[in-house]
Symmetry: C3
Subunit: 206 residues, 3 copies
């Protein structure tokens, strides 16, 4: 499935760029920037593979992901002043990566015969754990735990894929529908500044 | 062994509640609160299974743990103002969970033929790693590294179980004795405010 | 290969000492200090083994590493005021440990038939991940991401070992050359205060 692989690489590049930028903002050195880019781009899928017992993780079976992440992070390190114009489009590539990572992770969990919650967790983990490790390494509370409909978009797409997999719906269309769900929810959340409720909020009825 | 399973679920619920409350105190959104509850309740056993190579981890083989953790965290998120009265009893449920998790973790390590330090580590990890991940995700130095006789109670119980396993003592009684050791030491520590020495302390004789 | 094992234990002791000292500086209790020493000394190799799917990790197959790390950390906890004179020599033992851990990690990756980037990553991870976990547990941004030619020395040695392994160069000499590369680069970096460029720095030409 070549389209999925292409989208996977696009998402990897977008995630690596966001990680490298985070490293630059925190004044890390070259190694720190490369490492943060690498971890953000590949950490989620790697953790998923450790959970599934599929070792060594995918990045060591096809080193394309590693070379791509390092090359993108290096480019950001060297040329970040000239790449500011990428900041806004990156949000969209990031959304595409999010959708792709969710369907790849959930799809792999289905192949490993995991249950509903487990499959959804694997999809969400594939898409969000890299960013969480990035935040922990820079001693920030992971963004995904605090704001925006980011993980929720992933949960929606992963749950949809699990359910469609139980039907006779063609696989390709299931993947596409699930990925589009993630991407569309994410883009709406960016556009309209959606956020999840907090427990401390006033307007909450119990 | 149905009693052990029941205690395991009770401990899981208590740990999930403590994790969810930590998420609320740090003003996380709904996803953050659910995630912190889930990680606190199941992170220790999951990490243990990754170390033992027993993948996928137990939570994916019996999703009861996942549903229970999510349900408890959701209840805390929605009704935390009305559940303040649970704060004190939670300390006791937490102690029961600690004892149960230690004997389950150490018992599993024994089944995998691990050595003394390894078995104790697996017991302590099962009981404390979830809370450590909770603290790292909220960028706090893990509580267990700083204060109270928390890990020490686990070490005592795990070591006892390892030693009893070398004797002809009946298994059920070994488990019970080890779990009770953890629980009693922990409750005494709460009651009398015990703490471990620090290197910086004055009264230490070398 | 008895020399490699001896150097491995020396490195383990040096890493445990640095971890225990970090715990003391952050005013942790006895358990925290032992845990930080243990994690710093054995975390890198443990993570490498999880990635390679070689479970349980090496520390559970030969508990010498665990006993040594705990004993060293305990000694630092008890006698740290009398051991200040060790601070400077520790830097050199640490460098020896770095070189040894890199060749052990890269060598193991080669035995698992990993590719170039994967093998280098396993070498660097073996040598640096323990310190990163130590820093994350004390809520510091990992030192290795911020300053000094620490990881770079590891990368150089690991890459050299991978390349020499492709030639007919005798194994023992390859290991020695790679370890010496790490140690020498590291010692020069300490001596001359080398550091990697930062993206924010002025003198960078793109």
């Amino acid at each position: 499935m070549n389209l999925l692989y292409a989208l996977d690489l696009l998402g990897t590049a977008a995630f690596a760029a966001s990680g490298a930028w985070a490293g630059i903002r925190r004044d890390m050195d070259l190694f720190g920037v490369l490492m943060l880019g690498l971890v953000t781009a590949t950490g989620g899928g790697t953790l998923r593979d450790l959970f599934l017992g599929d070792t060594p993780p995918f990045i060591f079976k096809d080193e394309t992901y590693l070379y791509l992440s390092i090359a993108v992070s290096l480019a950001i390190f060297l040329f970040h002043r000239h790449l500011e114009f990428l900041h806004h489009p990156l949000l969209y590539f990031d959304a595409v990566g999010l959708g792709t990572f969710v369907v790849i992770g959930t799809g792999k969990a289905l192949a490993f015969k995991m249950g509903f919650v487990g499959s959804v967790m694997m999809g969400v983990m594939t898409a969000t754990a890299g960013g969480m490790i990035r935040d922990v390494l820079s001693t920030h509370v992971p963004l995904v735990l605090q704001k925006e409909v980011y993980a929720s978009a992933c949960i929606a797409g992963a749950a949809l894929l699990f359910l469609l997999d139980r039907t006779s719906f063609p696989r390709t269309w299931s993947l596409l529908a699930a990925a589009m769900t993630v991407i569309v929810v994410r883009l709406f959340a960016i556009r309209y500044n959606w956020s999840l409720p907090r427990a401390g909020g006033g307007g909450r009825s119990t």
